[in-house]
Structure formats: structure tokens, C-alpha cells
Amino acid sequence: MSEEFKSLLSNDIIPENWYNVTPDLPEPLPPPRDTKTDFSSINLLNKILPKEVLKQEFTFKRYEKIPDEIMEKYLQIGRPTPLIRAKNLEKYLDYNGKIFFKYEGATATGSHKINTAIAQAYYAMEESANGVTTETGAGQWGSATALAASLYNLKSQIFMVRISYEQKPLRKVVMSLYNSNVVPSPSNLTEFGRKILKENPEHPGTLGIGISEAVEYALDHNYRYMVASVMNSALTHQSVIGQESIRQMELLGEFPDVLFGCVGGGSNFGGFAFPFLPKSDDIEIYATTAHEVPKFSKGEYKYDLMDTAGVLPAVRMYSLGADFVPPKIYAGGLRYHGAAPSLSLLINHGRIKSDEVSESEVKDAIKIFANTQGFIIAPESGHAVASAIKYIKNHRNDKKTLLINVSGHGLLDLSIFQ
């Protein structure tokens, strides 16, 4: 009895391996490229990423065993996350098919970000780094990094875009609760930051500056740099979402016809949707972005910088340009100018479809979801739900089984409804 329970609630639902989509792509994945003649940003990765992460970044291994120590932390922070049939939403939408959602908001930091943060922090600890560092905008990634570091007794140094630092004081509280050292960026902890502050002491900060500071800090302090999204390793770590979903659906005797997820850098989407690819060629998949960041419809599929600062290599992706300045939309996590190379490739190839939704559709979706299912979901995740609702309106009688990835809760974003 005891064994059965363990196997169904933990070992058997949390996969034993991460899944890497690279070997299953329909075309070769264009590799990262250096953009400067005299300097290799690819080589820089060697100095700032844990070796294992770098290995996973470029690996062709379809399955990478999740180390026991990481598995244990996954259990601690609330994995497996629930997969719930949204019966009330079905009723509300008068839909004849089934709607399921996977709820990453149930993790300790309230979003999927912790899935890769734990992995990266673990590998940093394994190679005796002094700590980990990263940049954060809205704070979701910072919180995940802070907790992951804390779980492995590592220090964490977080560079938070100054304007967010001032506008989102609660996120800072969360990171501090996790014992993280959070500073507004530009900061005077790095040479780069000091230079910018000297020019403009009131500089509001950008993610690009934050990345530059974090990378400099990592190099100077034997810290490791933590990658929030876009890069393949992050998507691979996120594959626990999709693999759990597959098992949970199977055990319920179901399989989805259509998948929905939102896309910032592509990590929750890839982690959720990719594991379904080898399972079925027929499954329909929608990647949803914000109307204001139309990377798939208006962006170009080209080599472009991952970060505005140009510290990291260029990758081939759908991009609105590294210097694209998105409007200050409510869903901070979707403001990124590009999308993970593997996801971009699959969209370009036609295997995955893209969708865009407007702010009002998203707000409605969040309200409907709250009213029917109770969970107050993240604005980012609201895009996936809005897309699904749109789909249902156009496929009312298809009786398809829908599965939506709800990447996080929105409890720290409530002010958008004030």
C-alpha cells in the first residue's frame, strides 16, 4: 500500500528524467552564435554556468536523469503539481468537450520557474560555487532563484531592475524571506553598475543591465549565473510539467487533443508542450503571446541577441529585435523580445501554432477562471486561458479535450485589478 502511494503520488508522477526536445526536432537546431569577432560569448558560458547546465544546454540526450537530490527538492516544493479537470469552466462556457489544466501555481514560489532554478542551483552547489546570481524584472525568477539557493544553502545575489524594485516591494520581501541579497540594478556592486550610476544616478534599470551586472558578479565572486528561460537547459528542466501532465492524463484515462501555454522566453511552454510531441503527431498546440509583444506574428525568425547587453550569445529565434521596448504590460513575464530557439523552430516549421490575445481578453479570462475554478492565476497564464476560451468559442461542438498550462498564480499581481 505504502509503495503504491509513493509510486503514484511522487516517483510515478514526477518523471525520472528530464526530456530534451533537441533530438526530436524536425530540423537541426541552429546553435548559439558568437556575435563579436574577438570574444566568444559561448566560451563565456563556460565560466559562468555550472558545467552540468552547460552540458545540458548543448546535449543531444533525449533523457537526462534527474539527480535524487533534485528529486527530493521537487517533492519539497510541491511537485507533482495538480492536474485538475476544469468542470466549472466547462459548464460556464457551455462546452461539450473536456478542459483540464496543469497548475504550476501550486509550487512554493507560485510559478514553474522553481523547476529550473532548483536544478541550476544544485549544479552550482555541486561544483562548490560560492553562490548564485541573476537578474530579475517582475521578480518571479528572482524569487525562484532565491529559494533554490536557500534550499542548497547557497548565497544568492539578485539584481532587480530598479523600477520594479521600487514598484514591487512585496517581491523583494519574498526574496529577502528566502535570505537573498536583493539590490536595485544598476547597483554599485559591479563596475558596470557603477559606471551607469555615475552617468545617471536615477537610472531606472533594464534587464540587459541586470544581466551584465550578474555576469560580472558571477565572474568576480565564483558565483554561477542562473538562466531564467530561452536557453535549452531551462526548457529541459521545465519538462517535468509536461511529463507529469502526460502521466496524470493517462492515469485519468485521458489524452489531450489541444494544448495551450503562454510564451515569455518559452520555458513554461516548452516544458509543458514538448514532451507531448513524441507522443502524438496529431495533437494541436498553441503558443500564446501578448498582443503587445507580437513576436510570432510581427517578429522575424533570425539570429538575434538573447539579451540587450549582448553578453550572451545570439540564437536563432523569432524576435522583435533585442532593442525592442515592449509596452509596460501587466504580464511582466511576457515582455521578452524573442522565444526559445527550439520553440521558434517548431513554430517556423508549422508544428506549433501561435496565438495572440489582448489585455481585455486576458483580464476577462482571469476573472472567469477565478469565478469558476477559484484559482487566481498569473497574468502570464491568463494568456493561455484566454486562448483556450477563444478556441472553444470557435470549436464549440468539437468535443475536443483541452489541456492548459497555468504557469503560476497571480496573488502578487493583484494590483492590476485595482
Binding site: 533537441t22 533530438p23 524536425p26 530540423e27 537541426p28 537546431l29 563556460n46 552547460l54 548543448f58
Partner: protein
């Protein structure tokens, strides 16, 4: 068991035509099998910093006429030659293959073909096949399984397997897995390995795991820079030895 392949790589024109000629002509013909020549590109984008540098300088120095005799020397001695050419530099694939054939080349490695021109790749391969000009599939760890399978089926030459996603950089990887993967995807085919191979150890490890041979490029640059012909010859002999021990 056939002799394992040693395949030195040079970018034409680097560090200058004369120095390169000295190195090439000094090579004992009995220890090398194939030779790979990089035709200098303006955008060698899947190469690492070291090789990128050789393209930049090679581009300034390269002079086709200078190499006619050298190419003849190797082809006369049955050392098969292959070009490393970027598809982005090729205007007309038939003319390209015809010229190289004339120069005595057996085939080409085209690193950007599958990545940046996947839609055209199979037409290109068919054209080269029709011309009996060897298209050497260039695969890396990140080439998807089905691409490796499909391309292998359509080609007949040996396969170039890059151990790194890009030349000259050192991303950690799992050698056992890397080897067993390619051997399980492509059975009974000559597979030569390249990218980041330097030491006797590297070579022994590969040979032991069944590699048909190794291509060495970035690591030679330092000797070219120092004009160290003797060191270069000693190094090649050492590698040859390592390959033979395992064979």
C-alpha cells in the same frame, strides 16, 4: 580492420600562403588519410574564435592559383581532399562541385546546409550525388535523430561528427553517450570525429569507442602561428600512433 583516419584541417591562406605550403608539403603522406581545406569565408558562423581568425586572415591571403600544385600533389598521392565550404558562400552548387572536382577534391563538408538551408538540403544532396561528388554529412550533438537518419540514408560518403556544437570551444559532454548515440543511429558507416580534438587521450578515447578517424583543426593553429613545422610533424606522428595502437 582498416587503418584509422587522420584528417588534418587547414584554412587556405593561413597564416599566409607560403607558411601553409611549407607545412603541407612537410607532411609524411603515409600517416594522413584525408585532408580538409577550409575555403576562407566572410561569415564562418559555425566556427569558434580560433578558426574564425584563420578565415579572416586567410581571406586576405588566399590565392587560388598558388594552391593548384599542392592540390595536385595530394590527389596524385591518393590523399583524398575535402573542402569545408559555407553554403552561404556558394552561388551555384553544380559549378562549385565541378570546380572542386577539377582541382582534385573528392567532396565537401557544408556546415550550414542542414541548419540554415534545411528546406533546400535534400535537393543539394541529390545534385552532388548525381555528380558523384561526395557530400559529407556534418552532424553535431544537436542534430535531431530523424535528421541524422534521413540524411544518412540519402548519402553514401563518410560522416563528419562534430563533438561540439561549434568548433574550438569546450562545452563539457559525455563521450560514451555521444559515441554510442551516433553509432546506434548510423550503423556500419565510416564516421570521423572532429571539433575540439587535441590530445593523444582524446584520440585514444575516440578510437577505442569505434571512431573511424579524427579531424584536427584548431589545435594546429598554434603551430602554424609559431611556424613550428617540426613540432607539427611530431604531433601528427603522435596522433597517428595513438590511432594505430587502438586499431
Amino acid at each position: 580492420m582498416p587503418m584509422k583516419n587522420l584528417i588534418p584541417y587547414f584554412t587556405l591562406g593561413y597564416p599566409n600562403n607560403e607558411t601553409l605550403k611549407r607545412f603541407l608539403m612537410a607532411m609524411p603522406l603515409d600517416i594522413i588519410n584525408y585532408i580538409e581545406f577550409g575555403f576562407p569565408s566572410n561569415d564562418p558562423r559555425y566556427d569558434g574564435p580560433t578558426i574564425r581568425k584563420t578565415h579572416r586572415i586567410g581571406n586576405e591571403n588566399y590565392n587560388e592559383n598558388f594552391y593548384f600544385d599542392i592540390f595536385k600533389h595530394f590527389s596524385d598521392n591518393n590523399i583524398k581532399m575535402y573542402s569545408l565550404s559555407y553554403y552561404s558562400d556558394i552561388d551555384d552548387i553544380e559549378r562549385f562541385a565541378a570546380i572542386l572536382s577539377n582541382l582534385g577534391f573528392s567532396g565537401s563538408i557544408i556546415p550550414d546546409l542542414l541548419i540554415d538551408y534545411y528546406d533546400e538540403a535534400f535537393d543539394v544532396i541529390e545534385t552532388l550525388n548525381d555528380m558523384h561528388f561526395e557530400y559529407i554529412p556534418f552532424f553535431t550533438p544537436s542534430t535531431p535523430d530523424n535528421v541524422i537518419k534521413k540524411v544518412s540514408e540519402k548519402t553514401f560518403s563518410w560522416i563528419y561528427y562534430g563533438l561540439q556544437p561549434s568548433t574550438g570551444i569546450d562545452i563539457p559532454y559525455d563521450l560514451d553517450y555521444t559515441c554510442s548515440r551516433i553509432f546506434s543511429l548510423v550503423k556500419s558507416r565510416e564516421i570521423n570525429f572532429g571539433f575540439g580534438i587535441k590530445t593523444i587521450d582524446d584520440v585514444s578515447e575516440l578510437a577505442r569507442r569505434g571512431a573511424s578517424g579524427v579531424a584536427i583543426g584548431s589545435y594546429l593553429v598554434n603551430m602554424l602561428d609559431k611556424n613550428d613545422v617540426n613540432g607539427f610533424i611530431d604531433y601528427l606522428k603522435m596522433i597517428r600512433g595513438a590511432l594505430d595502437v587502438e586499431a
